[in-house]
Symmetry: C2
DNA sequence: TGTCTATTCAAGAAAACCATTGAATAGCAC
DNA sequence: GTGCTATTCAATGGTTTTCTTGAATAGACA
């Protein structure tokens, strides 16, 4: 094989990893899978696509090595194949946010106005946890909480929050979190809680960043 | 705009950054640009494509924000638009190397057998530099050395090395470096030098990694 | 001004991609 | 074994990518 052909092959292979992420629906899948493993059907409803289409996207991710599968009964659970994939996804988001023209506008359009929401950083939350007087609230869908969550967090999916407000201790401050910078569940949750007289803030980033920083977690998550 | 449509828009926008890297020729361009800015024509010969095609690829990278341009005389110099792009490219390589099936084989096919070459790490080279008894040799093409190089390095492009061996001091050990893990210039250089009785080793990674680690550099590089 | 050069633009054909549809498969429950 | 369910496969049509070719443009320099 000529040197030139070998070089093309090499860079084509490297580009495979990017090709896998080069579709909006697959990017969405990776973002959801960053929360933990999920079966195909759930992923399909999550990204609003047919099961067949979702399956094909998942297999493309599988072929490119970004995800792996595990069979349990009749279900196939997909998950990211390792920490470097988390890292890749983070780098992609950061690069896009910094350099893709107009992205910030699109983010703002999607997440809405966050200026009225109190936001605290990972570091601040850690400090509060040491002090003790804080309730950490996971507002993601149940399966994602089950797959892994911040240690000590309680789970109330945002869809159930209004009817389950009573479960939240009243004497402590609440910190809600969800998937990450593009997830609005925690935003909604904070609005609901402050609207009901509770002291609430949202964690700046989500569970994957918490886990990536090797902070304490619980659940199935590796 | 519906929430669903806004979400699709957001992830489509994120996928843009990946689309930019999802082509082997563009990946190759980014890898070359990681060495420093270059005009279109040089990039075209570097990746073995026509100027028109290269220009189109560069403009795709430009539209996605990964690169920026600077005009000087009749030439347009392209360069990566910031540190997060370096970071993204590194994450892509790492993810592909770890998870793309068969990539390691392709790398081996391209770079050949490195087991006979003495390799030293960045840390080791730093230590040697403090001791003083080492010559750092940049074997990349001239323009890349000019765009930025390890501080104190001398430049002898590998294509000229055989005829310019006399310029290398004989009493010191030589450490050759080039672009990075997929670059074979330093490999070739070490083979040439050891074949001529010189003490030579190759630096494990290349100039971009050195610069990214904020180790001392010289040249135009930002 | 006109010429030269580096770069960009435009059009077209082959290939790859993507959502949709309907059928096929694999494992569980009975 | 038969049904049932979650997932995958295969075929199709519309869109996007990618390389090629040839022409157009913008600035340098005389």
């Amino acid at each position: 094989m000529s040197d030139h052909a070998a070089k093309e092959l090499l860079y084509d292979a490297l580009a495979q990893a990017a090709k896998a992420l080069s579709n909006g629906r697959r990017a969405e899948l990776v973002d959801v899978l960053a929360q933990g493993e999920r079966p195909v059907e759930e992923l399909a409803t999550e990204i609003g696509q047919t099961v067949a289409n979702t399956s094909q996207h998942l297999q493309r991710l599988l072929r490119s090595g970004l995800v792996k599968t595990r069979r349990e009964g009749t279900s196939v659970y997909y998950s990211l194949s390792g920490p470097v994939v988390h890292e890749l996804w983070r780098a992609m988001r950061q690069s896009a946010e910094e350099h893709v023209a107009g992205l910030q506008q699109i983010v703002d359009d999607y997440v809405g106005d966050r200026s009225q929401l109190r936001t605290i950083t990972r570091d601040t939350l850690q400090a509060r946890l040491r002090d003790g007087n804080v309730v950490v609230l996971d507002v993601r869908p149940g399966p994602e909480y089950a797959a892994g969550h911040i240690r000590g967090a309680i789970s109330i999916p945002v869809s159930d929050l209004t009817s389950r407000l009573g479960e939240i201790p009243e004497d402590a401050e609440v910190v809600a979190y969800c998937r990450g910078p593009y997830c609005v569940y925690a935003d909604d949750a904070v609005r609901i809680m402050t609207g009901n007289g509770l002291e609430a803030a949202r964690l700046e980033d989500g569970f994957p960043e918490w886990a990536a920083a090797h902070l304490p977690t619980e659940g199935r998550s590796p």
